[in-house]
């Protein structure tokens, strides 16, 4: 299978700080790829960079072989990439139907919109029930469904999902991830960013672990799930490479405390 999305040596960030340092990964057609990592690792930044929202200092992003690095967001959407942003970012005071229409904004073909909307209502019947309700009145799980449906309105070839489980009760998390699996069943390709590594890896084919803006591990989902390094990346632990720094910091603190306790030391106070 060829790579649908290729990210190659990406260096990107906001203003003067680079968040991503040389990130390389790929997503092949028909896959679910999970991108896991602790917060601050740069996962959302990566998704935003793909959508053209973040300034790229070096590296390239290719979609179906074509470089999209310099394209404006609208053009990227038309190429077939769409993002379901973190925390949904729905248009709260608009109805469910209007939110869906906005999802198709990049395409103006009337007939297509009607068909696509019908498809979303098939996939998410609850949305049909609530089609004229304002989006802010939906429950958390329903809002996540609407966010995904809205993204589907642009008939994307690849969907970027940013932390879909965020703020959802565990029951809804299961449902949403079932929906995501169904999307792949229907031929979709998904790059899934999740902090909840277990859930993400349980439905993904492959995974990457992002640590401080770099890819630390790239493996099949199964391998990652039981990889002790993943746990280390989140919480630090015996045998992790970052344990050394942790130890040094602890030692330094203890030394300072010991020094202060010693009576001979005179401290200059201006």
């Amino acid at each position: 299978m060829s790579a649908l999305l290729e990210i190659d040596g990406l260096v990107a960030g906001y203003g003067r700080t680079q968040v991503l340092h040389d990130v390389t990964l790929e997503v092949r057609a028909g896959e679910i790829v999970a991108l896991i990592g602790a917060n601050g690792a740069g996962k959302s930044t990566l998704l935003n960079a793909v959508m053209g929202l973040v300034s790229i200092a070096a590296g390239d992003i290719r979609f179906a072989g074509k470089s999209i690095r310099r394209l404006p967001t609208a053009a990227i959407v038309r190429e077939g990439l769409v993002q379901v942003p973190e925390r949904r970012q729905l248009f709260g005071s608009m109805t469910v139907e209007e939110n869906l229409r906005m999802g198709a904004f990049a395409f103006r073909d009337r007939s297509r919109i009607a068909t696509l909307m019908e498809q979303q209502f098939e996939q998410f019947p609850i949305l049909r029930e609530r089609r004229r309700q304002s989006a802010s009145t939906l429950s958390g799980g329903e809002q996540q469904m609407l966010a995904i449906a809205r993204a589907m309105m642009s008939a994307p070839r690849l969907m970027l999902l940013d932390e879909p489980s965020l703020g959802l009760a565990p029951l809804f998390v299961t449902r949403i991830f079932d929906q995501i699996k169904a999307l792949r069943q229907n031929g979709g390709t998904i790059l899934l960013v999740e902090q909840n590594a277990r859930v993400a890896l349980s439905i993904a084919d492959r995974g990457y672990a992002l640590e401080s803006g770099r890819i630390a591990v790239a493996a099949s989902a199964a391998e990652l799930l039981y990889n002790p390094h993943v746990q280390d990346a989140y919480l630090g632990g015996a045998g992790s490479s970052s344990r050394a720094m942790e130890e040094r910091i602890r030692a330094m603190r203890r030394a300072m405390q010991a020094n202060a306790a010693a009576p001979r030391q005179s401290i200059q106070v201006t």
């Binding site: 959508m51 929202l53 967001t73 053009a75 038309r78 906005m102 904004f105 809205r150």
Partner: protein, 297 residues
């Protein structure tokens, strides 16, 4: 007896109130996409009236003159956005507002130079007759004003609710980030909105001219009173802006009639001041309102 005096004051007040309402709407629209209060909004109304009237005196048929004035307003609005606001989109809000003030002053000054001090007139669109409503005598043009205001409001409503561009405008003001992710180009939209606001203002100015005459000076008062309407809706609610604009027109007319025409302005401005003082005294916006620096991600 008293009631007919009341309506004789109220109805013309509502008529000028229509203009204020449309101006208020223009403020709300521009603010919702750009966060800028366009101080030139009132000048578009003034220019619309003057331009239509001037063209008419040059022999241009009335409908064409009005159309030309409306288009000119739209073009001016677009030009203002592109030339004076787009280049400084990232600077502080008060600087952008000051720039719109400069533009307003320029437009006023140019109007004085090119059109002179004398007011211009337009004939009523369907003659200069009068009609009666609730015992009040009103010029027939009043119906044109009411009618066109209703039509414009309807058109705007349909635009915002039923068209893709209109939805995009709403989306931009609700959640700019999400709008961007859907492929909405906020810069383009701002241009469109300013053009629309300019055109609406100009049309309103043309339609009211047969009743109040067009004068180089009028934009300032129009803008200010329209702004009062807009700010009563917190600069966010178009419905309240329209209703408040009508209210300002009514209050102004009633005050002039029942108190004195000298004091009418003071009453209107006093209402604004009182409104602001009460809002500030009763609600403390302090907690949620702190702005952060642009180092924000």
């Amino acid at each position: 007896m008293g009631l007919s005096v009341f309506f004789q004051l109220l109805l013309p007040g509502l008529t000028t109130g229509c203009v204020y309402a449309l101006i208020a709407l223009g403020f709300v629209l521009c603010y919702s996409v750009s966060n800028v209060i366009n101080m030139a909004q009132g000048e578009f109304v003034m220019l619309g009236g003057l331009l239509a009237a001037w063209l008419y005196t040059k022999g241009v048929p009335l409908p064409l003159a009005i159309l030309a004035a409306t288009l000119a307003g739209a073009l001016l609005g677009a030009a203002q956005e592109r030339l004076t606001l787009a280049p400084v989109r990232r600077t502080a809000q008060f600087i952008q507002i000051t720039i719109t003030l400069g533009v307003a002053v320029i437009l006023r000054g140019l109007a004085l130079i090119f059109f002179g001090k004398e007011p211009f007139n337009l004939p009523g669109f369907s003659g200069n007759g009068v009609f009666f409503l609730f015992d009040a005598i009103l010029p027939v043009q009043t119906l044109w004003v009411w009618g066109s205001t209703v039509l414009l409001l309807l058109a705007l409503y349909l635009f915002l609710q039923r068209t893709d561009t209109g939805r995009a405008v709403r989306a931009c003001s609700i959640n700019p980030l999400a709008a961007r992710l859907m492929g909405v180009n906020a810069d383009q939209l701002t241009l469109v909105v300013f053009a629309v606001a300019g055109g609406i203002g100009a049309l309103a100015g043309a339609v009211i001219t047969p009743i109040v005459l067009a004068n180089w000076d009028a934009g300032f008062q129009y803008g200010l009173k329209g702004f009062i309407g807009a700010i009563m809706g917190g600069l966010r609610s178009p419905t309240i802006a329209v209703v408040a604009g009508l209210g300002v027109g009514a209050a102004e007319s009633l005050a002039a009639g029942y108190l004195s025409s000298g004091w009418k302005d003071a009453i209107v401005y006093g209402l604004l001041l009182a409104f602001l003082l009460v809002r500030g005294g009763v609600f403390v916006f302090g907690r949620a309102g702190l702005t952060a620096g642009t180092a924000d991600r």
